[in-house]
């Protein structure tokens, strides 16, 4: 509980920082912090494998890419100003606040509903089937088994997705087409 509280507070603070910092780099660093906190929360939920992935893939790979791009672009100072249109700013804030409140209430309320249901039914059956603990279902083996047995199809689709992303990124940054840009744009 204490760990949850600490991680939750840090992550909320860092998330706010991500969207309010004027420097993209600072935002990125805070985002990494958020991700690490979430990884910590995964650990408290027992999902160790996914916690590791969170740090490696998200905080590691993706964010490094983002930071790399930020460095590459070497943005000028005026790029970091974010509030140009007042009306838009308030509208955005109102909309986000609405979603936030709604999300918190709806999820909080709905969750409360079903925590009242006793767990005895399923626990009895679980015991009668001879399973002592369901924690082992959180292990990497279990995840792998599910992924390759039950979710084989989405897994294959993911491979296409990655290939698509590669082709897409290639097209967007293709040199041959870039050279023509100098000739003038329409």
């Amino acid at each position: 509980m204490v760990i949850f509280a600490i991680l939750a507070l840090i992550s909320m603070f860092a998330a706010l920082m991500v969207v309010t910092r004027k420097s993209a780099l600072a935002s990125a660093i805070y985002l990494i912090l958020v991700m690490c906190c979430i990884a910590g929360l995964f650990v408290t939920l027992g999902a160790l494998f996914i916690a590791a992935l969170q740090v490696i893939v998200y905080a590691g790979a993706i964010m490094v890419l983002v930071i790399f791009v930020i460095m590459l672009l070497n943005l000028r100072k005026d790029e970091f100003g974010f509030d140009t249109k007042t009306l838009q700013k308030y509208l955005g804030f109102a909309f986000a606040a609405l979603i936030l409140i709604q999300a918190v209430f709806i999820t909080g309320w709905a969750m409360k509903d079903y925590t009242d249901i006793p767990e005895k039914d399923i626990s009895e059956i679980v015991e009668s089937e001879g399973i002592e603990s369901i924690d082992e279902y959180l292990s990497a083996e279990s995840v792998a088994e599910t992924l390759f047995k039950k979710f084989a199809y989405p897994f294959e689709v993911t491979s296409v997705l990655l290939l698509t992303a590669i082709v897409g990124a290639l097209v967007v940054s293709k040199k041959r087409l870039l050279e023509e840009d100098e000739e003038g744009e329409i």
């Binding site: 949850f4 909320m12 991500v18 969207v19 985002l31 993706i62 804030f93 999820t107 369901i134 897994f155």
Partner: protein
């Protein structure tokens, strides 16, 4: 372990902050990071829900044949993590294309401020 609904509420807050970030930021990269924040919030709620699966399934206990219970339990719990895994892949794919697009815009306009990139009315 803290009650599951705390996790859900935390994830809702993070998601809301992400939405706010997308709507208010003018910097393309910050918008991009806000979207990543939203995805992370979703991941958190999925894992939290998965850890709560026993409670959820007890509601439907009569709908599932008893001999399928262990299998369903395993699938449900693990599928939460599989879900997160797949979301990460999607995030990576989006990052690749999205950052490429941002760079491409930057080369043309020397700016990543979305207000500067506005020939057409938004």
């Amino acid at each position: 372990m803290a009650p599951v609904e705390y996790y859900i509420i935390l994830s809702a807050i993070l998601f809301g902050i992400g939405v706010w970030g997308v709507l208010k930021s003018r910097n393309a990269i910050v918008i991009f990071m806000s979207i990543e924040l939203m995805l992370n919030a979703v991941n958190l709620s999925i894992v939290a829900f998965a850890s709560n699966i026993k409670t959820v399934l007890s509601q439907f206990i009569t709908a599932i044949p008893p001999q399928r219970i262990p299998e369903v339990l395993q699938t449900s719990i693990a599928s939460g993590q599989v879900f997160v895994l797949l979301v990460m892949t999607v995030a990576a794919a989006e990052a690749a294309v999205g950052l490429a697009i941002i760079i491409s815009i930057f080369r043309a306009k020397d700016s990543v401020n979305v207000d500067n990139v506005n020939i057409m009315k938004w």
